[in-house]
Structure formats: structure tokens, C-alpha cells
Assembly symmetry: C2
DNA sequence: GCATGTGAACACATTCACAGCA
DNA sequence: TGCTGTGAATGTGTTCACATGC
């Protein structure tokens, strides 16, 4: 704890806790909106309130990025925005392949979040002959057997699984074989990660069930004066 | 620590930690699959391995439900399944209203997870005249102005927001006013919860960005022999 | 013998509170 | 004075390890 540049060098390659990583996209969006409105500076309290987190938590989150806010002033919005982008490895080109051209696949392919900030849907893959050859939001639907070609040609590093549950494990395996390094799986059920591949499971039905849990705890007990505090989760 | 039935009464109304609640749907699905295959008993190690969690964690999770596994044998699958269902307040009827009949709204309305286990899409609401009056997977699309009627008539307790971000806050407000007690918000950005309402924000674009963070940490460093362990997140 | 359920240890994240600096 | 960045305290979840009971 002595040598080198004081702040940046210290935190440059420090491990970032998972909860912090999960909050970064939220900060990013707020900073983007502020930047668009030409807001030059923001304090930790302002940003934290907008994000719905504690100000100390926000400051600690940002300190992981090796940021330099200015005491007495706050954070420089464009600069902070750039640092968050860098931490999330955004800004560079991230071609995505979506496996499964059903309703969810279509919805994701058309969503802004999958077509901005460096993300770009390079292609969708499916096995349904009725889908193969069609174009969704500028991206072609190709047959699953062409997956390797697409991944190699477009240098795809990210895969999204929007197939039925029964196909998910096999599709993840094929994505991994094709060279995709990270997969976002929307199919229900736990899919184990092949070696060297990061798999993130997002289960929309599970989210609904978790919500139910909290709803059931507040709804059937209308006896609490002001009611449950109505905290926002997630 | 003495009176009453030893296990169940003690844990019956204990607070369940949020991470535990988030894992319950996963256990539920596995138990359902085992039950269908007529598997009568399961040990904590087996179930934990299938779910990708530590066995001690699983046992502690289940102990929150006031369960009784049998030492030397394991857990009774049908019985445990029922207890998880009860904890999640499933089994009863949960009518859902989906706000936003775009691609995501359609995908959710058609998904199995939103139409089983007690969940039922009572209606979709939108303001697009081209959508209003159409039927999606057996559910009608009605105008946003009819929200109050639908919620009252169908006793809707759960709302799902699948609108553009710009409309999300207002739609959550209207859902709350209509009497919906819990909302699952898929629109990007933090939506504060009105008093007495639980709001759970699920940001699909953020999931992709989080994935990128981990992908970037493993991809550009192909120097680690066996590579990153490829842990499954989420 | 074998698997549950849980006290105790540990690891981690959040929050407070304040030193230090603009 | 105002706000950042962080040591220290707190709170929470995970994991170990074993007593207990089938």
C-alpha cells in the first residue's frame, strides 16, 4: 500500500463484486440520460436517489472503477459515463447471435437494448423451415447448422438462448463449440456452463413466482396501517 | 425454544431470505420433473447438484419452509414439492394483466411460465387501436382505459409491464391505482414502487451488459490453461 | 450407516461516519 | 462548506462440521 499512482492504479484491476456489476447498467442508463440533457456534474446522493440505492453504496461501487469524483463538486458526467462503459466493456462491437426465432427471440432481436451500445444482432438461428430465411429487424434467420459459420464470420462472442427448455442444453453446447464465450439463457431450468464459457440463466417465469411470494405476503394482510413499505426489488 | 411442534411451527412464519426465495422456483421445477418421473425421494446432495448450489445451502433454504426431510433417507418429493408451492403461494389462482401488447408482451402471454402453476393471463392492455380487440393466446387485448374494469372483474393481483420505457412509470401508477398489488417491470430503468405495491424490475438489456462484463474478463485472456472455470451465474 | 437440520465460523456486501481535499 | 473516498461497524448469506435421529 504505497507505490504507484494513488487512486487509479490501485483500483484498476481490482475485482468488482457481483452486486456492483449488476448495478452498473443502471448507473450507465442514468448517466446517459443526464449526458443527453447536458448535465455536467452529479453528486453521489443525486445519482444514488435516481437509482434507488444508498449513496455510500454508490460511492463504493464507483470507487471500484478507479474513478475520480471531485470532493465538493461531484462526478463529471461524461467522464463517469465513459468509465462505466469501459468497466462493462461496452463501446466495442459485440455481435450477438440469438438462438430461437420464436416470439421471445423476435422481441429481443427488435429491442433497443440488444441493438445499441455496441450490441448488434448478427443473426438468429432456428430449425423451423418456416423461419429460416426470414429477416427480423435487419437480421437474417439461418438454420442451426450454419451456426459455426455465422459465429466465425461475424466474430460472435455472445449467444442468447430463447428456445424451448428441451433444446436449451444442446443449443448451449453448440454455441460453446462454435466458439461463443458467453451465453444468456432465457430457457427455464439450470443449464450448466461448458468449460471456459460463462452462462447466465434468466428465468422469466421464476421472476413471476418470486413476485408472487412478496405479493402474497402483503395482499392477504391488509391490516398493516400504511401497508408494506412497497420496496422495489431487483 | 421448547413448546409446540418441533420443526414446522418454529419455521412456519420465519422470514425467508431473498436469495432463498429466488432459488425456490428452481427447486420447484426440478421437483416437478422428478415427480413426473415417479421419483419418490431425493437427497439434499442430489437436488443441490441438479440446481447447481451447495448442499448445505439447499438444506438451509428448505429448513426455512419448515420442511421435514427424513434423516438417512432424504426428502419426500411430492411432499416437498407441495411445500415449495405453498411457500411461493402457488396453487391458487393468479390472474395476470400484461401492459404492452408488443413483441415482448406477446411472448410473455404465450409463454408456459405465465400460463401454468396458477398463473393465467387475464388480459393485455395497450393504447394502440390496431392491437385493441385482438386475441393473444386466448387473452383479449383491451384499451388501457379499461384497466380498472379488468382488474376488478378478474381480481387481478399481478401486473406485468412490457411497454416502452417512456410509458413504464405512468403504467405502474395506473396499475397501482387499479388495485394491482405487485408488478413485474420489464421496461428499462428504475421504477419506484407506489406505497403498498411491490415492484420488481427485470432489465433484459442489463443482463446482457452484465454478461459482457464477465465475457470480456475471460475472452481476452486465453492464457489460463483450462480457462476460466465457467461458473454459471444467476 | 447415512442424511437431515443447525450452531458456529466465515465471507461478503451494505451502511455509517469521518478524514481529507476542492 | 460540501462532497468524495474509505476505515470500521454492522448486517446478511454461505459454508463447514457435527450432533441428532431414522
Amino acid at each position: 500500500m504505497s507505490v504507484g499512482r494513488p487512486s487509479s492504479a490501485k483500483a484498476r484491476r481490482a475485482r468488482i463484486p457481483e452486486p456492483t456489476v449488476a448495478r452498473l447498467p443502471q448507473y450507465r442508463r442514468l448517466l446517459e440520460a443526464m449526458d443527453d440533457r447536458r448535465i455536467a456534474t452529479v453528486s453521489s446522493v443525486e445519482l444514488a436517489d435516481a437509482a434507488g440505492v444508498n449513496a455510500a453504496t454508490l460511492r463504493r461501487d464507483l470507487s471500484c472503477l478507479g474513478t475520480c469524483g471531485t470532493p465538493g463538486t461531484g462526478y463529471d458526467v461524461p467522464r463517469l459515463r465513459e468509465m462505466v462503459d469501459r468497466a462493462l466493456a461496452l463501446g466495442r462491437d459485440w455481435p450477438v447471435v440469438i438462438a430461437g426465432a420464436g416470439y421471445l427471440g423476435h422481441a429481443l432481436a427488435r429491442s433497443r437494448g440488444f441493438n445499441s451500445g455496441g450490441f448488434r444482432v448478427a443473426a438468429l438461428v432456428d430449425i423451423d423451415p418456416a423461419q429460416v430465411g426470414t429477416v427480423v429487424a435487419g437480421a437474417v434467420v439461418v438454420h442451426l447448422d450454419e451456426l459455426d459459420d455465422v459465429v466465425r464470420r461475424e466474430r460472435v462472442a455472445l449467444g442468447v438462448v430463447a428456445t424451448p427448455a428441451s433444446a436449451a442444453a444442446e443449443v448451449v453446447r453448440r454455441l460453446a463449440t462454435a466458439g461463443v464465450g458467453a451465453v444468456l439463457n432465457f430457457a427455464p431450468g439450470f443449464v450448466a456452463a461448458p468449460p471456459g464459457v460463462t452462462v447466465r440463466n434468466v428465468d422469466l417465469a421464476a421472476e413471476l413466482q418470486v413476485l408472487t411470494f412478496y405479493a402474497a405476503r402483503s395482499v392477504p394482510s391488509p391490516t398493516d396501517g400504511a401497508g408494506a413499505p412497497g420496496r422495489a426489488l431487483g
